[in-house]
């Protein structure tokens, strides 16, 4: 489909892809160079073992960065980790990093935190890069116009050994979001609405590019929330073209290019947008003006509705599989079809995760709870995304606001998002969570999760039932 006089327009993702092709051969996947490999304790030990077994080294330790996040406690972090199995896993990462010369930010280090909060914060996440990590929320870094995606442990080993990955180019989907968000509506509501529209399988095989006036208006942190949940729509990666907001965010951070390097980088970054005549394999549209706070009712992130609506009836789904999924979700969630979402009582509010554990998320929730008290029979857990986010929040006095409100103020980590450390729901407990997955048992065996924005989380903690700030 070449046009006369030149090549066809390319999408942003195609540009980044093509800039990283080491080898291309007909009938084989492209071999892509990886600019940054982030690692953590859970998905790396078997990869390092593989290197040892084959007598291989880490090819580019200077393009590799480790942090401890999934399995670490958020209380008493200065003490040895109580669970011996968790401790062994964290110790294994430390030993592997020491043996292979990889930089690590361990518990207690000022740069420790959730891997997807740490990268952007250090300024090491930059436009036009390829970034991978053994974690599906690596798509977060796409907010900078990077091609970033989650990989499995075999691929972690492959990147450690070769700094490349063989990959087949996905299809391209444009997610167009025009208009202006109403007050109280956040980027979390945008992405939950996108997932409800295209379903958890809708983005399968695609890279999503979020575009349109509503996206351009968003801060970097809000953009990260959107790209973070691309995987919940089935897409391995999602990205946003970098602009002045992006460049401003990066400038001055520890790993931002300096001097002439900054000028060279900026000149390149400015080319990173989809051409006007770029062809997407699929386009979807959402009107930001019509969006309102969004929450999930079921057990996959596509099972969501506006907070103002009610739990849907399974019969309302035309598709047989979706109807059956809705039936089993209602049983697991112990919900009756037709119940207004706002009548659902919440036991635990979780504010944190790589989706919504950044400083803007904490600030926006703190502004709502300021001077109020947490509802009786509801607890709130506030877990900053990184040690730096925690320190920043404390320097602004947010910790005091949360503590006076009656919330728990914790140290950084993935925490209750995946319930791998002691921060878990008890069987039957129901949460309003700013995290990314409402899967059965995700936050603890038998736990029930409603995904919400930080604003809805804060209002819910005050009322004890699902609520938005407008309901207060």
């Amino acid at each position: 489909m070449k046009r006369l006089g030149g090549r066809m327009g390319r999408t942003l993702a195609e540009k980044v892809w093509e800039d990283h092709v080491v080898r291309s051969a007909s009938g084989e996947p492209d071999l892509l160079y990886i600019d940054l490999h982030l690692i953590h304790e859970v998905t790396s030990p078997q990869a390092f073992d593989g290197l040892r077994l084959s007598g291989r080294k880490v090819r580019r330790p200077e393009l590799t960065l480790a942090t401890e996040d999934h399995n670490v406690p958020t209380l008493d972090i200065e003490k040895p980790i109580a669970d011996p199995v968790s401790r062994l896993q964290v110790d294994t990462l430390r030993k592997n990093c020491a043996e292979f010369g990889v930089r690590i930010h361990s518990l207690g280090d000022i740069e420790q935190g959730i891997v997807h909060v740490v990268g952007p914060q250090l300024g090491i996440t930059q436009p036009g890069m390829t970034i991978v990590c053994g974690d599906s929320h690596t798509s977060t870094h796409g907010a900078f116009g990077a091609l970033a995606f989650g990989i499995g442990t075999s691929e972690v080993e492959h990147v450690l050994a070769t700094q490349t990955l063989p990959l087949t180019k996905p299809k391209m989907m444009a997610v167009n979001i025009e208009g202006k968000l109403k007050p109280g509506v956040t980027s979390k509501d945008i992405i939950l609405a996108v997932i409800a529209q295209i379903s958890t399988g809708g983005g399968q095989g695609y890279i999503l590019e979020y575009r349109g006036s509503a996206i351009r208006e968003l801060s970097m942190e809000a953009r990260m929330t959107i790209c973070n949940m691309s995987i919940e729509a089935g897409a391995r990666a999602g990205l946003i073209a970098p602009d002045e907001i992006t460049f401003e965010y990066i400038k001055g951070r520890p790993h931002a290019p300096q001097g002439a390097d900054w000028d060279a980088a900026l000149a390149y970054w400015k080319t990173l947008k989809s051409d006007a005549d770029a062809k997407f394999d699929k386009e979807i549209y959402l009107n930001a003006d019509e969006l309102s706070p969004f929450v999930t009712w079921g057990t996959n992130p596509g099972q969501g509705v506006p907070l103002s609506q009610a739990v849907p009836t399974p019969e309302s789904f035309g598709d047989e599989q979706e109807r059956r999924a809705a039936e089993s979700a209602l049983v697991y969630m112990d919900l009756k079809a037709g119940t207004p979402m706002k009548e659902i009582k919440i036991d635990t509010v979780f504010l944190g995760s790589c989706t919504n554990g950044r400083i803007e998320d904490l600030r926006s929730a703190a502004a709502i709870i300021k001077g109020k008290k947490v509802a009786s029979n509801t607890r709130m857990l506030v877990v900053p995304g990184s040690a730096r986010v925690r320190l920043q929040a404390e320097s602004e006095g947010l910790d005091k606001l949360f503590l006076e409100f009656g919330a728990e103020w914790r140290s950084a980590g993935c925490s209750m998002c995946l319930g791998m450390n002691p921060d878990q729901l008890k069987p039957g407990e129901r949460s309003a969570s700013t995290s990314n997955r409402n899967f059965e048992g995700r936050q603890g065996k038998g736990g029930r999760t409603h995904l919400v924005s930080p604003l809805v989380a804060a209002a819910t903690a005050i009322k004890g039932t699902l609520a938005s700030p407008a309901d207060l």
Binding site: V22, G27, L31, Y33, L36, V42, T43, Q46, E62, L63, T64, N71, V85, S86, Q89, T92, R103, I124, Q126, G134, D135, S136, G150, I151, G152, T153, S154, E155, H158, A161, T162, T164, P166, T168, P170, T200, G201, Q204, G205, E232, G234, A235, R236, P257, D261, A264, A265, Y268, T299, Q321, S328, L418, G419, M420, R437, F439, E440, G441, R442, K445
Partner: protein, 199 residues
């Protein structure tokens, strides 16, 4: 990796869609630093239910899991593949797999076969009618055969060749180290490095 040419076994019908990797193996089971022993966490939340399909004696010994659409969504944990393999599964059949899970499975030698939903339904019925139904999955002919019927499936030539030869991806890539070095020599100087540590 072991070569995969074909597999003959019996099936286990998992009539659920959207089986995410947290269902396949919950996070609390991911603390091991080895590649083995994950079978105890496989479908952990459902295993306590005596009616769960893996607990039914007629399906014991099944090596081919036949699941609903969107199998393996969510977390990138390769432990999901290991848990299925450690338990004894060699093949998973579904109408649609999540990208990362599928990539992980094909790298680890767990064959994931995509069949149209109506063929999945037909297979479910056949297995439920006779749990001893012998199912043959052949990579050479890219087909699933049972009860005298044969259904073809798609798998790209490259992945099929890699599975049939039992080749290790890293070994294949290392053949191109010269190209990687060439690429590295031309990388932009402004690209960030994690070392030395800056503050």
């Amino acid at each position: 990796m072991e070569k995969f040419l074909s597999h003959i076994g019996t099936g286990v019908p998992l009539r659920r869609s959207n089986v995410d990797t947290d269902q396949i193996i919950p996070a609390v089971y991911l603390k091991r630093v080895t590649r083995s022993g994950f079978e105890d966490g496989l479908f952990a939340a459902w295993r306590s239910d005596p009616d769960f399909v893996l607990n039914k004696s007629e399906y014991h010994g099944g090596t081919i899991l036949v699941a609903g659409v969107d199998f393996g969504t969510g977390s990138s944990r390769e432990h999901a593949v290991w848990a299925l393999q450690n338990y004894g599964f060699k093949v998973v059949i579904s109408a649609r797999f999540a990208d990362i899970f599928r990539g992980n499975s094909l790298k680890g030698g767990l064959l994931t076969v995509i069949l149209p939903q109506e063929e999945v339904e037909a297979l479910w019925s056949a297995i439920e009618q006779d749990p001893k139904t012998s199912i043959s999955v052949n990579l050479e002919s890219r087909s699933v055969s049972y009860s005298g019927k044969s259904v073809g499936f798609d798998l790209d030539d490259y992945t099929r060749w890699r599975l049939m030869e039992g080749l290790d991806d890293i070994g294949l890539t290392l053949r191109h180290t010269g190209l990687v070095e060439g690429f590295e020599s031309k990388r932009a100087k402004f690209k960030p490095k994690t070392l030395p540590v800056l503050s």
